[in-house]
Structures are given as C-alpha cells and as structure tokens.
C-alpha cells in the first residue's frame, strides 16, 4: 500500500505541527554529532549555504587529531600538534560547539541526550561518529592490550605510543603491521604507514624488517605501493596475503606474538589494526545494519533506518566511496544541501561526490587515487567509467611522485580549511 498514503497522512499531521517554523524559509535546528571531516564540513556548509539555520555541533574532544598525516607522525616527519585541528573556526562560523558525549538519540522526540543529562532538540540530525574499533574481532586483543600493541587507528595518544615504540626499537628489530579485512577506515592507510616507517628505518635503523600480516588478498594502491617498496626499501618489507596465512587469528601481548596461518611471529613492535564498525552512537540509536555500518539514501545520505537523520563519513555505507576524510567532507556537503532543501520543503539537489586520497611513500614520494562518483537511486554510488583511478604506474619527466608529495601537503592544508576553517 500504501506507503504513499500512509506517508501522506503522517505528513499532514506533521505539517500541522511544524508549519509555523517552516513558514520562515529554510530556518530550523540542526544538530551534528561528531566534529571530524564529515561533521565539521556538514556544519560549516549548513551555515555557509543558509546563515539563518541554527547549527549545534557535539564533540567529545577539545580538538580533532586527524588520521590523515598521522602516519607522517609515525615516520617522524610531522608532529601531533601539526595534525591537531582547533574547533575555533567552527565557532567563528556561527556554529554552536558543545563539548560532550552524545549518549542517546530519541528519534521520536527528535532530541540528542548528552552524557551529562542535557538534551539538544533537532529538526534534522547529522550523525558523523566515525568508527569504533571491534577489539573482540581478534582473539587476545583488547583495549588494554592496545597499550602493548597499539592500533593507532584513531590518531592521538595511540599515535604517540606507537611512535615511541618505534623510536625505542633497536636497529635490526621486527615491526609487524596487521591490517584488517574490508571495509575499514582509510584503505591505503596501513600501507602508507608501512612506507613511512620504512622510510624512517632506512634512515635510522636500516637493518630492521617490516612484516605485514594482512587479512586481505589485495589492497588499495597495491601495485604502486609494492613497486615503491621494491625501489625505495629493497628487502625490508614482506607482505603476507590472507590466502597465504596472513590473517591474524589471535595475539599474545605478553610475549608480543601474533598467531596466523603463516605461523607464530614475535615482533619488537606490533601494530594491530582491528576490524571496525560505525561509532557507538550509531549502533545504539539503531542506525546501523547487521554488518555494523549505516545504510543511507545515496542521493541525500538520509538514514534508511530513521526519519530526519543523516549519517555521513566512515559510519555510512556509501557504495564505491572509501571510508576517508575526503569522502566524509564530500558527504557533509551533500547532507547539508539535502537538509536545507528539505527544511524549505524543496526537492534535494542532485549530489556531487568525489574522493581524493594521497599517500606518502617517503616525504618526497606521493601517490594518489581519485574518483568522481555517479549517483542514482537504483545503482547507488558508482565510479565514473574510464576516469579517475590511480597515479601513473611509470613516472614521466613531469616528476609525478615529487609533485604528488607536495600536493598531498596542499590537500591536507586545504581540506582542513574547508572542513574546520
């Protein structure tokens, strides 16, 4: 039936209740959960596109430490302070920034409850909580074990810890990296990490080895990374695919041992990147599916599980888009446009979505992957045929690798300004 008729009835009732507020153009109250790339961008673009809209952003941290360029911190090429973004630019843009933990969403009453008991009412809600780590996904691993075997997959204290361990490691030591299966935050991230740590080892600890025990049989930018490892760090890095026993089944932090089909391997430093799922608030609010991620309408990033809620960034299921800061930024803009249109009673604008991911192999060697996406209600988000894709396999006189390393830094500075001001 009558989905249509029922929606009409509900719509009529809702209209009676909210008509006075909607009468003044698009103004309304939007609450955004999470000030990462997705949430910050959504908040900024809501205000930029309609200064009359009331935007409140909830963030549990005082500032954002970005995952992009956190691998450069591990290599010793960047500081944690250098990848920390203040929220002052969001406040200056007229966004109310509330420091707190969103602990529950009341979908019926349209309000967000914070850990301190206060409530924020909304007309539309943007949920951009990023990822939660599923520590139980690897036997023997836990939040406590991450003090011995850091994941460093949320930038901050874990990044500092892993850097300290790498600095303390003797020359000739073994560094083990264990990336998870798909999907996960930043698909090329583990391999950029391997590269920049190898770059550090080459300069300071050239007898050291890096073992990559992978749950997967292939990975993002694989051909480019492996060619670079061969040319820049010959003999230093061994990658073991899941099909060859690379998937880590369990770990023993007390003996710094990882166990996989390949055998038991002891590391001097172990970076275990566990499986992931949408941030806890998305799970508890019922916005996620059985696989732990949140289904959305690809045209608007509106949740398919709850009305008046949009889910963006790593937490969302976004078709061909990887879970990246760049994807989250693009999705924030789409959600902002869709929300303003819906508050004004207009159809959502057609979405424009892209992704640009740079990876550094060394501070002077950059590679990238990019796509501009096609979006339809039926097929969802797909890459554009015969376009986008990877950096050239064989560099030319243009000096692609060096140029892309410089563009990676420019990208970081510019996407930061676009997201946080």
């Amino acid at each position: 039936m009558t989905a249509t008729r029922r929606a009409f009835i509900v719509g009529s009732v809702a209209a009676t209740l909210v008509a006075p507020r909607l009468a003044c153009a698009a103004a309304g109250a939007v609450v955004v959960i999470g000030a990462g790339f997705g949430g910050a961008t959504a908040a900024r673009y809501l205000k930029r596109l309609d200064p009359a809209v009331d935007v409140t952003l909830v963030e549990r941290e005082a500032a954002i430490v970005t995952c992009p360029f956190s691998n450069a911190v591990l290599g010793g090429y960047e500081t944690l302070q250098g990848i920390t973004r203040s929220l002052d630019g969001l406040k200056a843009a007229g966004i109310k920034v509330v420091r707190g933990e969103a602990s529950a969403i009341d979908l019926q009453a349209r309000s967000v409850r914070l850990a301190d008991g206060s409530r924020l009412a909304y007309d539309r809600l943007v949920v951009s909580p990023g990822i939660d780590l599923n520590f139980a996904g690897v036997a023997g691993y836990s939040e406590a074990a991450a003090a011995q075997m850091p994941h460093a997959w949320k930038a901050g204290a874990q990044t500092t810890l892993l850097r300290q361990q790498l600095e303390a490691m003797p020359d000739g030591g073994t560094f083990i990296v264990a990336p998870p299966g798909n999907p996960f935050r930043c698909p090329p991230g583990p391999y950029e990490r391997v590269s920049l740590v190898a770059s550090y080892f080459k300069a300071k600890k050239p007898k050291s080895k890096i073992l990559v025990f992978d749950a997967k049989d292939n990975f993002s930018k694989q051909g480019l990374f492996q060619a670079a490892w061969e040319s820049e760090f010959p003999g230093m890095i061994a990658w073991v695919a899941g099909k060859d026993g690379g998937k880590v089944e369990s770990v023993d932090p007390a003996t710094m041992t990882v166990k996989c089909g390949f055998g038991n391997q002891k590391g001097d430093v172990v970076n275990l990147i566990p499986p992931q799922r949408a941030g806890a608030i998305a799970q508890s609010a019922g916005l996620s599916g059985d696989n732990g991620w949140c289904p959305v309408d690809p045209m608007t990033f509106a949740s398919t599980k709850a009305a008046n809620v949009h889910v963006i960034g790593d937490a969302s299921i976004a078709g061909a888009m990887p879970k990246s800061g760049s994807s989250a930024n693009a999705q924030g803009k789409v959600a902002a446009g869709a929300i303003l249109a819906s508050l004004a009673g207009k159809p959502a604008p057609a979405p424009a979505l892209n992704n640009i991911c740079y990876s550094l192999v060394t501070p002077d060697y950059g590679i990238s992957v990019t796509d501009v996406y096609q979006v339809t209600k039926d097929k969802g988000i797909t890459t554009t045929p015969n376009a986008g894709g990877l950096s050239v396999r064989t560099p030319t006189d243009l000096g692609e690798r060096k140029l892309e390393a410089a563009y990676a830094r420019g990208w970081y500075r510019n996407i930061s300004a676009d997201s946080w001001g």
Binding site: T4, S12, Y45, T370, V372, R409, N414
Partner: protein
C-alpha cells in the same frame, strides 16, 4: 485545507524527489575545494582555482580531459565530467567573487 494539502505534497516531494538533472555547477565546484581550498583559494601546494575566466577554465579542463596538458591528477578528474558539466563548472567559477 487546500493549502495544507499542497504543503503535505511538498513534504512528500522533499522526501522522494531529487532533481533529474545532474549536480549544479556550485555542487560540483564545492567538491574541488578539498584540494584547491575553500572558494578555490588554495593556501599551499595546489594551484588556486581561476575566477572570472570561463573560457580559459573550459579550455584547460578540456585539455586535461584529452591529455593534451600534462598533469598528475587533473587529467583523471577531468575525464569524469561531460563537456556540459565542464561548462557548468566554468560558469560557476566565473561568477565567484
């Protein structure tokens, strides 16, 4: 009542309908800002976007698209857009203050 029905109809439209045409020039250009900076005013490394020069922007995008102009990434990006979309992008950029 007629007003209410009309209003409900707009609500329904808002929930279901999306413009049939592709994204606007503004929506497409906004995606450029991740690399080129907000409003295309790059702060580092990446060239800023040109304003007020529709013909030049169109010509350069077509040159990227057809690999007549060497590039690291813009050739891959430009191939994603139809000539009409490139015109729409150039049109929006030309009007940026």
């Amino acid at each position: 009542m007629r007003a209410l029905a009309a209003f409900a109809a707009t609500l329904l439209a808002a929930g279901a309908a999306v413009a049939q045409d592709g994204p606007s020039g503004q929506a497409m250009v906004q995606t450029c800002y991740v690399c080129h900076g907000p409003e295309g005013r790059s702060a580092e490394g990446v060239p800023a976007l040109m304003r007020g020069q529709k013909e030049l922007v169109m010509r350069q995008m077509v040159e990227f698209k057809t690999d007549r102009r060497p590039a690291t990434i813009m050739n891959r990006v430009a191939k994603s857009y139809s000539d009409e979309q490139i015109a729409s992008i150039a049109d929006y950029l030309a009007g940026l203050k």
